[in-house]
């Protein structure tokens, strides 16, 4: 069938055994690929009781039917149970790894077991070779990628972990194609727990496309749509994702000092505009991407990629740090060591708040840019106080008796949007299946950027419907394994057109949205079985009780309960957030 190669491999690192996993005929239609098919596979292989860092846990690398064909189709998804949150988790990354994995002959790869000693996998022509990685253990992600490319193929795309993953830091990430990261949820720790240092993929296999002429016309149209869209055509290419610094600050929802304030006085100095004029070397783009939001940057001491908006906030304003060079180098360090910048910054923010209150023994002060890189280094190697930071903010705050100081949902640190300034975004954070994440439903689109239309950000009316819709669309796009920035420019119909053009099938918009809803509900069902319920669909008390002190979001708190009941009703879940039997049945789960 066009689009899919029909080949998902499974490797048991304990025994070295490999097999091709047979996929039931209807799964591709019902779960597509990427996140959807990955979650479906995961839930059949592992139970909600599986220890994320145990050998029997599965780590799944998945592509979707569009990888290697249309714009932004270089992405891939990593699916497993998160050691940080204990929810089901998928983490997405850009670059070209997803496209090259298919060119190497696989739709996806399931990894179970634990190698006796460090290994890496070389994947080519649909075959998987397990190679020794003892000499790579301890190398950072950049060194690892260079070494693995040297040992395999100069055109190989490499996904790997750094020291943080090796040391099973709970928010370790997986890096590929230099600095693209599957950042959230600690997928790097799962990889490290398997003694798996890297995956190298290379090959020239063409991905079959059912209707090349239709795809050519669609691509020409998409180029213009993306180019004409003010966000994908101007803001992101010119200023990168950090264009949001000034935007969010102007709305009074750019979190400062662990979300105690929403306006950062030094925002201009760490903005996308400032990065463009002081650090930017060139734009960088993922596979077949016309947007090119990536930033290749250089400080006086180092060069690398980023920082992205979330990172410049997490390692900057959130900690009261306005030294852009220090933030940028801290971001480089996170990339090299393999750490999620959002959770790193969120955890440091929590530590600083605890220290300011005198309940935390570390020498942490707001605005201490000089210590930033050493804290990050200590965390990756689990040295000294770093071993406590390596557990994430929730465990840290609980240990010191102040759980409310952790700005997290379900254990995952909330990113750079103060939910008090956007009620829909607040609901999206609270109900996200993988915890405090902006990517499950990016309500900043309608509430701040006006895409597809402006919605009143302080109103709760209609937000439950929109959050559920966006979550379903996001699950869909993650399963097609395309970049979510495309969502800012195109609607569901275009995704349907892409899928039908590549696969030759006849999906309707409604069917695709139902696929998204099915995936979201499947994830929810797994979480419910793992013990999550309404209690976990909440936000830190700060957002529900403490009003923002200043700025355009002044005096606001989140009105969560009134939205949550409506959200459950729309989802077909009971009052405790458990999918009702008829919902499960309707979605064919």
């Amino acid at each position: 069938m066009s689009g899919w190669l029909g080949k998902i491999a499974k490797v048991d690192l304990s025994s070295g055994q490999q097999e091709i996993v047979p996929i039931p005929a209807d799964w591709q239609r019902r779960y597509l690929g990427g996140r959807g098919l990955g979650v479906k596979l995961y839930t059949t292989l592992c139970s909600p009781a599986t220890d994320p860092l145990a050998a029997d846990n599965a780590l799944i690398f998945m592509t979707g039917p569009l990888n290697g064909t249309v714009m932004t189709s270089g992405r891939y998804q990593v699916i497993s149970r998160s050691p940080l949150t204990l929810t089901i988790c998928d983490s997405s990354s850009g670059g070209s790894f997803g496209a090259v994995l298919k060119q190497a002959g696989l739709d996806g790869l399931i990894i179970q077991g634990r190698a006796k000693s460090p290994v890496f996998l070389a994947i080519h022509e649909g075959k998987i070779e397990i190679r020794d990685a003892g000499h790579l253990w301890g190398l950072n992600t950049q060194q690892t990628q260079r070494a693995v490319i040297g040992e395999t193929d100069r055109k190989a795309s490499v996904a790997c972990i750094g020291p943080a993953g090796e040391n099973q830091v709970l928010f370790a990430s997986i890096l590929n194609d230099k600095d693209r990261a599957a950042g959230r949820g600690g997928m790097g720790a799962v990889m490290g727990s398997k003694n798996l240092k890297a995956l190298a993929v290379y090959g020239n296999r063409e991905v079959p496309v059912a209707n090349p002429e239709a795809m050519k016309n669609l691509t020409a149209r998409l180029d213009r749509i993306v180019d004409k869209n003010p966000v994908t055509g101007k803001s992101l290419p010119v200023l990168g994702t950090s264009v949001l610094v000034n935007v969010m600050n102007a709305h009074g929802m750019f979190p400062v000092h662990n979300f105690r304030r929403g306006v950062f006085n030094d925002a201009e100095g760490i903005s996308g505009e400032k990065i463009a004029e002081s650090l930017l070397q060139r734009q960088s783009a993922c596979y077949k991407c016309p947007i090119a939001c990536g930033r290749s940057t250089k400080t006086n001491n180092k060069q690398g990629e980023g920082p992205e908006y979330e990172s410049v906030w997490a390692l900057g304003a959130n900690l009261g740090i306005s030294d852009l060079a220090a933030i940028t180098e801290a971001n480089y360090a996170c990339n090299e060591l393999g750490l999620d910048t959002i959770t790193m910054g969120g955890t440091l923010g929590c530590a600083m708040e605890l220290a300011a209150e005198g309940v935390f023994p570390g020498d942490f002060h707001w605005g201490d840019a000089g210590s930033l890189s050493s804290w990050i280094e200590d965390t990756a190697w689990q040295r000294g106080i770093g071993a406590e930071l390596a557990q994430g903010s929730r465990r840290l705050a609980e240990k010191y008796g102040r759980p409310e100081a952790a700005m997290q949902v379900k254990g995952l640190e909330i990113p750079a949007y103060d939910p008090r300034g956007a009620q829909g975004m607040a609901l999206a954070f609270a109900t996200s299946n993988r915890g405090g994440c902006h990517m499950r439903a990016y309500l900043i689109g309608p509430e701040i950027l006006g895409h597809p239309v402006f919605l009143d950000r302080f109103s709760t009316a209609g937000k439950a419907e929109i959050v559920a819709l966006f979550q379903d669309i996001s699950a869909l796009v993650d399963s097609l394994t395309l970049c979510r920035f495309l969502q800012l420019a195109v609607g569901i119909s275009t995704f349907t057109e892409m899928l039908n053009g590549v696969t030759g099938l006849d999906f309707s918009d409604e069917e695709l949205l139902r696929v998204g809803r099915r995936i979201y509900t499947l994830e929810r069902s797994f979480n419910v079985q793992a013990g999550f319920n309404r209690r976990d669909d909440s936000l830190p008390p700060r957002f529900l009780q403490e009003k923002l002190p200043e700025g355009p979001s002044r005096n606001r708190v989140v009105q969560l309960d009134e939205m949550l009941d409506r959200y459950y009703a729309i989802r077909g879940w009971d009052g405790n957030g458990v999918p009702l039997p008829q919902t499960i049945e309707t979605l064919g789960l």
């Binding site: 020409a220 149209r221 213009r224 749509i225 004409k228 869209n229 006006g450 895409h451 597809p452 239309v453 402006f454 919605l455 009143d456 109103s459 009316a461 209609g462 937000k463 439950a464 419907e465 929109i466 559920a468 819709l469 669309i473 420019a489 195109v490 609607g491 569901i492 119909s493 275009t494 918009d509 949205l513």
Partner: protein, 265 residues
Amino acid sequence: MIDHTELSAHSGEKKITQLCNEARTFGFFAVCINPVWVRTASEKLQGSEVVVCSVVGFPLGASTSQAKAFEARQAVAAGAREIDMVINVGALREKKEDLAGSDIRAVVEASHPALVKVILETCYLTDEEIVSGCELAVAAGAKFVKTSTGFGAFGAFPDHVCLMRRTVGPDIGVKASGGIRNFKDAWRMIQAGASRLGVSASVAIVEGLSLLQFAPFAWLEDEIPCHICPSRYASLDKQPKAVYAYYKKKCLTCRHLDMYNRFYE
């Protein structure tokens, strides 16, 4: 319903070709372009139902009537079936109805058999002047009145569209244009009485529409009236002093002021 529009100074043949392709693909009513591209667009759209619409006296409306008529005649000869002319805004504001009316009539006559839409450029007008402009256009034989060029202080607002519809009645078209960027903007204009939309973000509107079918009521929740009121966008830099003062005065006496004054914090 949609005039797929590309009127920027820097548009070249490549963009016009793409515009025509999109109009064919999505079935837009017309492409609205500068006169220099009318022949090109007519050729590109041969065999399709998409109409070519040219602007005249654009964007200031300050050319002589003869120049506007000549421009219109040439556009029609090149294949335009609709002409969007800009009214003599200065004459209208000074209540020189004869001058403004004869200007429109000259273009209507020169454009035959193409239909003429009269752009009032509402951002420079009070409500009274908008009514007067509509009446002049209808009397001069125009088949449509249109809100804006997209180059003025602001574009279309539902209040203005509603006023224009009330003035011209059901038999004359009302085209809303300028600042219509998404399906909600479009929906508002249609609700207010627009029978045609001039949009450069037409494809984005269609893309967005595929979301509207899901959770429609949530997307179309009532919103703060100030967000869609011309008074909020009045600008002393961009508008005549008297018009600016007119809109600000409306704002101060607005019935919504008490409820929504939080937006003026």
